[in-house]
Structures are given as structure tokens and as C-alpha cells.
């Protein structure tokens, strides 16, 4: 469950960004990106967020929205491009092991929405 550590970092970053923007909050909505190959699990992130959010007044009422982009498995043998959820040992089309993975590795804090009372 290293997702708890990730969410702790996420919350610190949100607090940083909100302070930097000169806002008071509270945060109503958070958009994050958890790529399928990022090594983090979106359900565990949600669980950890529910666990930790009540301790932080700034985000305790925030809605967490998670985008989970897939990765592309590109085959160098048959040129196929397949959307994938996980690392594969071989091309799903031709079985070649000459494959490359692209995208789906991001773990990002995308946007923070706050109540309309910014200074």
C-alpha cells in the first residue's frame, strides 16, 4: 500500500499549490492522472484519499476524480499498436517479443478547483 504515501504527497502538493496561488480554499474537486503503468492503483489511491482527507481541512470535502490513461504496446515486428492495461510479455497480435511500451506511466496532479472566494 504505497498509495498512502502517494496520497500524503498529493495532499502536501495541493496545500502548496493553493498557498502559492494565494487562495484560502476549501478545495471542491481534484483531478489526478494515474496511468495504468504508473505502478499505483487507482482504487487504492481512492481508498487512501478517503482515509487521509478528513485530517486536512483544505481538502476534506473535495471530490477526487481520477483519469486512468492506458498505455500503448507497439510491436516492432508486425507494427501493431494495442491499448494495454498492464505490461505484456509479447505482442497480443503476432506474439513477437520485440515490443515497446509508450505512455500510461504518469502520476500527475492535474487541476485543483476551489470555492469562488479567492483573493
Amino acid at each position: 500500500m504505497h498509495e498512502v504515501a502517494i496520497v500524503q504527497t498529493l495532499i502536501e502538493q495541493v496545500e502548496d499549490e493553493v498557498t502559492k496561488a494565494g487562495c484560502a480554499g476549501p478545495v471542491t474537486r481534484l483531478e489526478v492522472v494515474v496511468g495504468r503503468l504508473s505502478g499505483a492503483n487507482a482504487d487504492s489511491i481512492r481508498f487512501a484519499f478517503e482515509l487521509l482527507a478528513p485530517d486536512h481541512a483544505l481538502i476534506e470535502k473535495a471530490e477526487l476524480v481520477i483519469d486512468e490513461p492506458k498505455a500503448i504496446c507497439r510491436c516492432l515486428a508486425c507494427q501493431a499498436e494495442n491499448e494495454i492495461d498492464e505490461l505484456l510479455p509479447a505482442c497480443p497480435d503476432c506474439g513477437s517479443t520485440e515490443i515497446r511500451f509508450e505512455g500510461g506511466q504518469d502520476l500527475l496532479l492535474q487541476t485543483i478547483e476551489l470555492e469562488e472566494e479567492s483573493s
Binding site: M1, I6, V14, V32, L87, L109, Q110
Partner: protein, 219 residues
């Protein structure tokens, strides 16, 4: 109102990892992040490795475990500087924990620092500690399907070290399969096979590592 951040969530850890990296570079310390399951032989490997390497390079160790100082005591018995980190339940080390441990080590006197991560084949892969090299261990007793089953950590490592190869004789571990799985997942990684018990393969691995550490010092 909306703030567009578009920033990596692990950035806090990465910042601390970069600070560690600068500190290591200034001190001329080569740093290995050693990862693998509980019981795969991380500490036993270190004991065998240091016996060979300590004449050429001054080693030190940071031990990461949930609890106890059992591993640190084993390293201490060799007369090698060691700091134990107890994570109190956390499944991995992060860069901040390593920075705190460094308060108790003199980096300038260390050529090769091994950070023995918490025994875990999953979470440790996600946290940069500021290391120069990532080694993942797979012991023969764990089975030859683990590269395929836990791909993330193998994809993110520079070296795969297969340990306990004295147990290969029972024929249930297909070393070629492991090498093939690794080659598909991570073509750039080097694979070494060793037995800390019999010493088989140790010279090759230790020689390679010592060379790497010395080269980084010259830079």
C-alpha cells in the same frame, strides 16, 4: 476558481532524491538501491560481497526494515558502518528516510553505499532514493515466474541478480526463462547469477560492481 498544476505527484520524493544524489556525487559515493522479497538473500549477499570488495572500496550500509535491528547487527559484526531505518510499517524506503539516515554516516569516507530496501517486490520500485544503481534480487527458491508476475520492479532496475543458484540442481527453476522474460521487459539490464553460499558467480558480479563504483569516483 481552478488551479492547473499538471505536476508529478511524486515530486516531493524526487526533490529529496535529487538532493541525496548531489550529496553522494560531491562525496564520491557510489550508491546501490538493493531490492527484493523478504528472504531472497539480500543481507547474506552483502556479507559475501563485502568480504570480496572491502579491500578495494570502503563500504557502508543503510538497512531498511519494518522493525528490529537484526540486519544492522549482522553488518556491524563485519565492522562496516551501518544505519538501521525502521519504517514502522511502511512498505518501502523513501528519499527523506535515507537523508535522515545519512546524518549518521560520513559519506566522504564511503566509496560504496548499499541501501538495503524493505523486503518487498512491489512498492520499493516506485521510490527514487538518489541511488546510482538499482539492483533487484530474485532468489531461486522464489520461482522462475516472478519477472512475469511482478514486472514493474524488474522493468525499473538496472541489474537483475539471481541468487541461491546452488539450489538450481533440483531442476524446478528455469534460469533461461527468467533471462528471456527480463530481456523482453528490460533489454538494457544486466543479469548476474550468484550463490553467496558457494561463492559461484560472485567474482564476476563483485568485479563488475567494483569497476562501476571506481569509474564513478573518477568522474
Amino acid at each position: 476558481m481552478k488551479i492547473v498544476a499538471a505536476k508529478k505527484i511524486m515530486k516531493a520524493n524526487e526533490k529529496h532524491a535529487d538532493l541525496n544524489r548531489v550529496r553522494f556525487r560531491l562525496a564520491g559515493t557510489y550508491v546501490v538501491n538493493l531490492m527484493g522479497s523478504p528472504g531472497c538473500g539480500k543481507t547474506t549477499l552483502l556479507e559475501a560481497m563485502f568480504a570480496k570488495i572491502r579491500e578495494q572500496l570502503a563500504p557502508a550500509v543503510i538497512e531498511g526494515d519494518l522493525a528490529s535491528a537484526i540486519d544492522a547487527e549482522r553488518i556491524e559484526e563485519l565492522g562496516i558502518p551501518v544505519v538501521q531505518i525502521n519504517t514502522d510499517g511502511a512498505c518501502h524506503l523513501n528519499a527523506t528516510m535515507v537523508a535522515a539516515a545519512l546524518e549518521n554516516l560520513k559519506c566522504e569516507e564511503i566509496d560504496l553505499l548499499v541501501i538495503e530496501n524493505v523486503g518487498n517486490l512491489v512498492c520499493t520500485a516506485g521510490f527514487d532514493l538518489g541511488e546510482s544503481l538499482r539492483i533487484v534480487i530474485l532468489s531461486v527458491s522464489e520461482g522462475d515466474d516472478k519477472v512475469a508476475k511482478y514486472p514493474t520492479i524488474f522493468k525499473k532496475s538496472d541489474i537483475l541478480l539471481v541468487t541461491k543458484i546452488d539450489q538450481l540442481s533440483d531442476g524446478r527453476f528455469d534460469l533461461d526463462r527468467v533471462k528471456a522474460d527480463m530481456a523482453h521487459l528490460n533489454p538494457e539490464a544486466n543479469v548476474f547469477s550468484v550463490s553467496a553460499l558457494t561463492g559461484e558467480g560472485m567474482d564476476e558480479f563483485v568485479g563488475w560492481l567494483a569497476e562501476k563504483a571506481k569509474k564513478s569516483k573518477q568522474k
